[in-house]
Amino acid sequence: MNILFQPFILGLRHHFLPGGRPALRTIGILMAGALLFYGLYLAGLKTITYFHSQNELGVILSLKIFQMAWVIVFTMLIFSSMVTGVSALFLSRDNEIIFAAPVPPKDIFRMRYVTTTIYISWMMMIFSLPVFGAFGTVFGAGPLYLVLLAPTVLSIAATATAIGLGVTILMVRLFPARRTRDIVVYLSLLFGILLYLVIRLLRPEELADPERFPDFIEYLSSLSTPVSPLLPPSWAAGLLSGFLQDHVVDWLPVSLLLLTPMVFYFAGQWIMSRFFFTGFSRAQESFGGSRTFRAPAYRPAPMLWLFRKEVKMFVRDSSQWSQLFLVGALIVVYLYNFKVLPLDRSPVPAAAVANLIAYANIGLTGFIIASLAARFVYPAIGAEGSGFGLILTAPLSPERYMLYKYLFYVIPFTTLALILLVASNHLLKISGPMWWISLGTGLVITWTVVAMALGFGAVYADFKTENIAAVQGSFGSILFLFSAVTFELLTIFTAALPTYKLVRSWRWGIHLSSPVLIETTGVLSVILLSGLVISLFSLRKGSNMLRVHVH
């Protein structure tokens, strides 16, 4: 029943082609997307060419990375389809219209399935296709490789969504608890599954650990065997890496990749028809039920009440706080990778590599902070919704409002940055100036990025949005991410040389010359100052826009 797709298609059309013509915004997004696509392709090409040009081991390692990338993509897709599935299937507000209509559940499943596949995989397509495409160029696989690649990516996305949605319906049906508890239990379980899959299936520690194998041939063969022959990403990696090496199509994985999404789709449809309604009925039973929330004694303190409101809005909205599980998983996986780094087997002195990684880690931490800020801080102004008018008609200036919001978000983000930086520095056994530089630069990046997220969020605030998670894909959010990442990269590039000189002097016990000292202090001061200026500018610009919104 194609009519169910109308809201989705028309919504997209009105968004990107208002009045039947592409909007300036659409052209901008397309160009930025194309640029990103090409940039990733070039980066992929450079990295894979490097591996490929080493020796036989380099080729095998690059194929191993290829395999691991497929597992990561598949795992992340299943995870995000499960998280998206809860809100798409059970909490969507259009359910009230669609489910009251005489539409069989299997048709609703088809609509949710297709739209969820698109929602969760478009980003993955942009990021993975150029990288996987680069493998084809390096291995000289020709255009047939691309013909194989596109449907393979699609099949993996379709399989992951069908599994994710099916499991979601079963889980919500099986747990005999109320909505919130359902979701807590469910997400805890997902959290566990994700950790297990990422850590156990990837086995990153084996990547650079030839000593675990009696001879080199066994090491090589262990690297080239698929992760687990029963998983769809292994079929995808097997099919494509086979083609990359021998230019031969293996029809077994082709048929498996064609059939599996269909099997899971029909299984999902059956599960939907059989189990959905009870779960859906239960999902509407409002949060808290007969629970009471005792209000604290009143005190006239605007900042306190704004903070309190933010906390309440966050903890009472399961679609918000459930994302913390994702953040938790991210931190554990992130730190685990540092733990298993085989620094002691590196041909370069371990301390030098550790310092280099610690420096790169500033950028990685910054990237995580920027992604999380796009998810939590950027939508914070628009999320006020119709209540925003109430806030700004109160005797609270937009500047003060922005400042309170900033203070509210900067505290947890600082804590997170500190955890990531201090813990990874500890695992890398970093001490001396690098410890302080990584912490200082990391914090300046964090504080600036949070202010930028808030500023962009205020300028592009959408007070009518229903789904806060969907704000992430909006134009303003993407623009914020680009700007934040640009600021981070500029900061890291600017500080690289003085940091290198400083760390080298410290490691070799060389007395620091005055020019080096002045250069280092100067660069670090410039970074601090530019962070401060950008933060103030973002908050000020945001406050000014809030005035425009309100009038």
Binding site: E96, F99, A100, P102, P104, K464
Partner: protein, 256 residues
């Protein structure tokens, strides 16, 4: 003939019994008022009838079909207007109507004539191609009302029909309901407006704490409340145990 039959319906939310073993029937051509204070179980009952909530026990039959056994058939025969007119923000009014028409398999002739008629009637004609996000609350309410009225189903389930409507539209909606009922449509109507209930409804049921307090015509209700000349507001306050509020209101009036 009964178009809607609710038998021994119960719905619990945890330990709270939202709807407690209620039974009622709405006849063809009847406007049936469903009244009660906030949190009495009206919306829960309505959501069960609209097929949005699963009851713990009890049955709902619509136009002779069991809702649990044949939900698609029952939904085809039911037009539902929710209390909050949430619509697809990024669709235009006309696209929304087409979407709903498509969901209910409404034939093209009926769709064209009915939408033209109702959009003009509700002064929505010039807004039909605007995005719904630019609509006011009242316009949304009128649009969703159009999406239901255009279909001519045997049962209308309406939760708070007049919220956000201007006086002209409110009068129009009331006339529509009367006309629909004369044409044989059964209307199950939940409202807080006692004037509307008194003006429109053939029979009224008052629900308190999930249980039916009383059902019948205005005459039955008056008799039950022991107030031969009272209007529905007095009867409602009496039967829902809020009569003492009247004294407070009278005292306030005196003081002012």
């Amino acid at each position: 003939m009964n178009i809607l039959e609710i038998t021994n319906l119960t719905k619990r939310f945890g330990s709270h019994v939202a709807v407690n073993n209620i039974s009622l029937a709405v006849r063809r051509g009847e406007i049936y008022g469903f009244l009660g204070p906030n949190g009495a179980g009206k919306t829960t009952t309505i959501k069960i009838v609209a097929g949005l909530l699963q009851p713990d026990t009890g049955t709902v039959r619509i136009n002779g079909h069991d809702l649990a056994a044949d939900p698609a058939r029952c939904k085809q025969d039911t037009g539902y207007v929710p209390d909050r007119p949430w619509l697809f923000e990024k669709m235009t009014g006309m696209e929304f109507l087409q979407f709903i028409g498509g969901l209910y398999n409404l034939d093209a002739d009926r769709f064209n004539s009915a939408t033209t008629h109702f959009l003009q009637l509700f002064d929505l004609d010039e807004w039909r191609d605007h995005l719904i996000e630019s609509y006011s609350h009242g316009m949304r309410q009128k649009l969703i009302m159009t999406s239901v009225l255009m279909q001519n189903q045997p049962l209308l389930v309406i939760d708070e029909p007049m919220v956000g409507l201007d006086p002209k539209s409110a009068r129009l909606v009331k006339e529509m309901f009367k006309q629909k009922a004369r044409g044989g449509t059964a209307i199950f109507l939940s409202t807080h407006s006692l004037e509307i209930a008194e003006e429109l409804c053939d029979r009224i049921t008052i629900i308190t704490d999930g249980s039916l307090r009383i059902s019948g015509t205005m005459e039955t209700l008056r008799r039950e409340a022991g107030r031969q000349t009272s209007d529905l507001e007095d009867i409602f306050l009496e039967l829902t145990g809020a009569w003492e509020m009247q004294e407070v209101i009278a005292a306030l009036k005196e003081r002012s």
